[in-house]
């Protein structure tokens, strides 16, 4: 390995692919260098729950052989990280919970299978909020993740480990999942790119369910181009997921070079009301101005029911999670309490010991809103409001191609600041939740700094229009360099 290989971590996925293609270095060298970095630096972050060094090196060797034989897939030999919510056969899948601390999946999630088939090398499983419930990565049984930009701050959540790993250049790309903002908010708070595709775009098979009607897999990278490469592999119909949609997957990379000239950008009035940090608001407006300078036009749009999105979400998501998490009962897999006296004792203690506070809070909330006598007032009402919110977006997209605003109301907050105040924590996702409720694709792209902490621009497009999101953010990144900024400790 020559000296310049030490800089491999600074390269994007696309640049690394070119390096592998050009024979500049091998996948084994690349994998080795990132594994060394993880071993050296992750102590400062806690971004990984499991590092699969041996498996990764073996896979890298196979990738190099495949490359030599000319049979490698489109991501052949490129190292990535999986959020620990995706089942990986033979490797522990914890979902950030004590409940699954001992769980080794007997099968691969579709996302894992597809990336594997494309030749990607997975370096390990990233830390996350327990069962993806949280916006700070503090609910993880394996401890919080530190933000690479400031170790005292949260990287956001729930895909906090994935975002931190990519921001700290421990991997060029990481999978994530987004139920209310769990890809986009951590991307914004760590200065990375995060895309949550349209509901049904990526298979949920093998992705441990939090709220089935909202969960969607996506990716965190440093550039829009890298996201396009990853998404192209991950997207597509899966017969094993009844909610995945049989809709052709376009060549996302090919669409990137299109100019944004004439693109109609909707600016949501409600996004800049109180609650948004003033300086964050300034950065977002500046980013929109860049798009305008590239030929896009802005239109003010109205999402009148936006303020209902957080309460709606916190009825629907807990309701679904209360049912989805019933399978963790200590009977077949996962944590089982010792010396149970009887069946009820086994259930109560296995679940009592296996789940953390936030998961319990949501299971109880969800159980309550579904119970006899409350169902109509909460669950049914929330579903009706969900339709109103989806209608608002539908109306907006008759006038605009993309809706722009902030990803998160503030830059990264300090660990410990909000964890005891669930309502404030929940409000972190106020700008992102709408896309989940309406099933729309959303994306966050770094657009500057406030107090040395990154800020994200949030874009939402119409159903299955990931192309416009990727094109818009790629064009923006061609004219800005926020994504090139690297936290000092991880250069």
């Amino acid at each position: 390995m020559s000296d310049n290989h030490q800089e491999l971590h600074a390269r994007s996925l696309t640049e690394l692919a070119a390096g592998l293609d050009g024979g500049e270095f091998t996948s084994v060298e690349l994998t080795q260098s990132l594994l060394e970095r993880i071993a050296r630096l992750d102590g400062q972050l806690n971004a990984f729950i499991t590092v699969t060094a041996d498996e990764a090196l073996a896979a890298a060797e196979r990738a190099d052989e495949a490359r030599a034989a000319g049979t490698g897939g489109v991501l052949n030999g490129l190292p990535i990280v999986h959020k620990d919510i995706f089942c990986t056969s033979g490797v522990k899948t914890t979902c950030g919970s004590r409940m699954l601390d001992n769980f080794v999946s007997p099968y691969d999630a579709t996302v894992v299978e597809k990336l594997d088939a494309a030749g990607a090398i997975f370096l390990g499983k990233s830390n996350m909020d327990e069962f993806a419930m949280g916006s700070s990565n503090e609910t993880s049984y394996f401890g919080p993740v530190n933000n690479p930009w400031n170790a005292e701050c949260s990287p956001g959540g729930s895909s906090g480990g994935s975002a931190a790993a990519v921001a700290a250049r421990l991997a060029p790309a990481a999978t994530g999942t987004d139920t209310g903002g769990s890809i986009r908010q951590p991307a914004a708070l760590t200065g990375t790119v995060g895309i949550k595709p349209t509901y049904g775009r990526v298979s949920r098979y093998g992705m441990i369910a939090f709220a089935s009607s909202l969960d969607q897999a996506g990716v965190i990278t440093r550039t829009a181009e890298d996201a396009a490469r990853m998404l192209g592999v991950m997207a597509g119909f899966d017969a094993r997921d009844s909610t995945s949609i049989d809709h052709p997957v376009p060549d996302y990379v090919a669409g990137l070079s299109k100019s944004v000239k004439g693109l109609r950008v909707g600016v949501v009035r409600q996004h800049f009301d109180e609650g948004l940090d003033e300086q964050c608001g300034v950065r977002v407006h500046e980013a929109i101005a860049v798009l305008e300078s590239l030929g896009a036009t802005t239109v003010e749009v109205d999402l009148p029911n936006l303020d209902l999105s957080v309460p709606t979400y916190y009825v629907v998501a807990p309701a679904e999670c209360s049912s989805n998490l019933s399978r963790f009962d200590g009977v077949r897999f996962g944590h089982r309490a010792e010396n149970a006296e009887d069946l009820m004792d086994l259930y109560c203690r296995s679940r009592g010991e296996g789940f953390g506070d936030e998961v319990k809070r949501r299971i109880m909330t969800g159980t309550y809103v579904l119970s006899a006598g409350y169902y109509d007032a909460y669950y049914l009402k929330a579903q009706q409001v969900r339709h109103l919110i989806a209608d608002d977006f539908k109306k907006a997209f008759s006038d605009v191609d993309v809706i722009a605003g902030p990803t998160s109301p503030t830059p990264a907050f300090r660990l410990g600041d909000k964890i005891d105040d669930p309502i404030t924590m929940y409000l972190n996702d106020i700008y992102t939740i709408g896309a989940n409720l309406a099933g729309l694709p959303g994306m966050s792209v770094p657009c500057g700094f406030v107090d040395d902490l990154p800020v994200g621009l949030h874009l939402v497009a119409a159903h299955f229009d990931e192309e416009t999101l990727l094109q818009c953010t790629h064009q923006y990144q061609q004219h800005t360099d926020w994504h090139l900024a690297c936290p000092e400790a991880f250069k």
Binding site: C87, T93, A211, S242, S323, R327, G334, A372, Y379
Partner: protein, 481 residues
């Protein structure tokens, strides 16, 4: 009870296991009797991350049932989750249909005690997955779980509270049993649990409109038990009320060993199932064209077949009912009737008599009969053309059953051909009369009944092969002098 001051009100919930090869939401096999936990895949086991995918075949089967009972097949039905914890329910919820079932507002007709047609309403039929089985026997202090049955498709058929006696309940259930087997959507095997029933039973003073408090009887896995359980429960409730006590709304289990029902769990401990639409499954949407295509696949149903058997074959009403109670029996009858010149009623008599007896004796279904419809027809043709008598035919039937070949082969090999040659019969008759002079004298003196004795002697001499009608005639002629 019908004559008493009390009126019985019964509604049934029947669970029919649908005869698909794979499970309702997974590709695992539904075959019965495998080693525990060998037919449960990750989806059935409720592993983290797995998702259900609907087996389309169950939709077709439910639609068939709906059309067969004159019901509305819903253009849109929704799977919901019924949440409760139990070790044989791996996901902690059962996927069922709740607010929007696939079939609603059906009906069928049974015969009541007076032989009149009576309509029984079918409230709904919905699709759901079965749970696994808990095994408590032989495991000391622990319980075992067998998840082979988990995810087996069920059609739950809910009737209106339209039945007024255990007999009507049985008639209704038999009718449903016949229909699902006719449609080929369930094997109806009650021993294996693929056709089971819960009964809601209440009593009220005759003439009162309001229903009494009901008890739900579970674990009714044979027609006999249902009748016994309902009758026990009715008497129990009447006794309670007559003693001035109250019937409690509860679930009761029928114990067939003791022939009694006893409480399982009371309403107070009832689960709040927290039903909500399953977000992992899309609503089932069925087009009018699809329903039409299913209608085209419908076989002739039992009622229509019965009427046709009466009209087309001239069968007695009751016999047509017996033959059409099972599609396999009806098919056997039609196959046999088509293959012989013998009258259809003769074919029917043999199926309901000898054949049915032989099948029962060996515990066989008609599909496994050792005498095929063609073989039976071949034998009946020999009765019809007087080659053999009905009596000899029984011998021939047993030989065919025993694998000795066709009717013709058996008749030939055993020399069972009927003697119709008058001169041959006359010779035997002469011999018999000569050997019994005193009986002949008595007959001639007016003891007509002795003709039977002479017939018997002639048949004995001819090893049963003489044509009985000819024997009779010739005897009368010869003794008449």
């Amino acid at each position: 009870m019908t004559g008493s001051a009390w009126e019985v009100v019964i509604g049934l919930e029947i669970h029919a296991q649908l005869a698909t090869r794979s499970k309702i939401f997974s590709g695992a096999s539904t075959a019965y009797g495998a080693e525990p936990n060998t037919q449960a895949c990750l989806v059935d086991l409720g592993y983290p991350g797995v998702l259900p995918v609907l087996n389309e075949e169950v939709v077709r089967m439910a639609a068939m049932f709906g059309l067969a009972v004159n019901a509305a097949v819903a253009p849109r039905s929704v799977f919901a989750r019924k949440n409760y914890f139990y070790p044989d329910l791996p996901k902690g919820y059962q996927i069922s249909q709740y607010e929007l079932p696939i079939v609603e507002h059906g009906e069928l007709y049974i015969e009541d005690a007076d032989g009149n047609e009576k309509r029984i309403g079918i409230t709904r039929a919905h699709l759901e997955e079965d749970a696994g089985k808990s095994i408590h026997e032989g495991l000391d202090k622990s319980s075992g779980i067998d998840l082979n049955r988990t995810g087996t498709p069920l059609l739950e058929i809910v009737s209106e509270p339209d039945m007024r006696s255990a007999k009507e309940a049985i008639a209704y259930m038999r009718k449903i049993h016949t229909i699902v087997r006719y449609l080929g959507i369930s094997d109806g095997n009650m021993q294996e649990g693929s056709f089971r029933c819960d009964a809601n039973v209440s009593v009220r003073p005759r003439g009162q409109e309001e229903f009494g408090t009901r008890a739900e009887l579970k674990n009714l896995n044979s027609f006999r038990f249902i009748e016994k359980a309902i009758n026990f429960e009715v008497e129990r409730q009447i006794e309670l009320i007559e003693e001035g006590r109250e019937v409690v709304q509860e679930t009761r289990l029928y114990d067939s060993d003791r022939d009694e029902t006893r409480p399982m769990r009371s309403k107070e401990e009832a689960n709040d199932y927290r039903y909500f639409p399953d977000p992992d499954l899309l609503p089932v949407e069925i087009s009018a064209e699809y329903i039409e295509s299913v209608r085209q696949q419908l076989p002739e149903l039992p009622d229509a077949k019965k009427q046709r058997f009466v009209a087309e074959y001239g069968l007695r009403d009751e016999d047509a009912g017996i033959l059409t109670a099972s599609r396999a029996v009806a098919d056997y009858f039609e196959d046999a009737a088509a293959a012989t010149e013998a009258p259809a009623q003769l074919v029917a008599n043999w199926i309901m008599g000898e054949l049915s007896g032989a099948l029962n004796r060996e515990g066989l279904e008609i599909g496994d009969s050792k005498v095929s419809a063609a073989e039976l027809a071949g034998m009946l043709s020999r009765i019809h053309d007087s080659t053999i008598s009905g009596k000899i035919a029984k011998q021939v039937f047993e030989a065919i059953w025993g694998g000795e070949g066709t009717a013709d082969a058996v008749i030939e090999a055993k020399g069972l051909k009927q003697i119709t040659d008058s001169s041959a019969i006359e010779a035997v008759v002469d011999k018999v009369i000569a050997a019994n002079p005193s009986q002949a004298a008595d007959y001639r003196a007016g003891k007509d009944k002795l003709i039977g004795y002479f017939v018997g002697q002639v048949m004995k001499e001819t090893r049963g092969q003489a044509n009985p009608a000819q024997v009779n005639q010739i005897l009368k002629d010869k003794l008449g002098n």
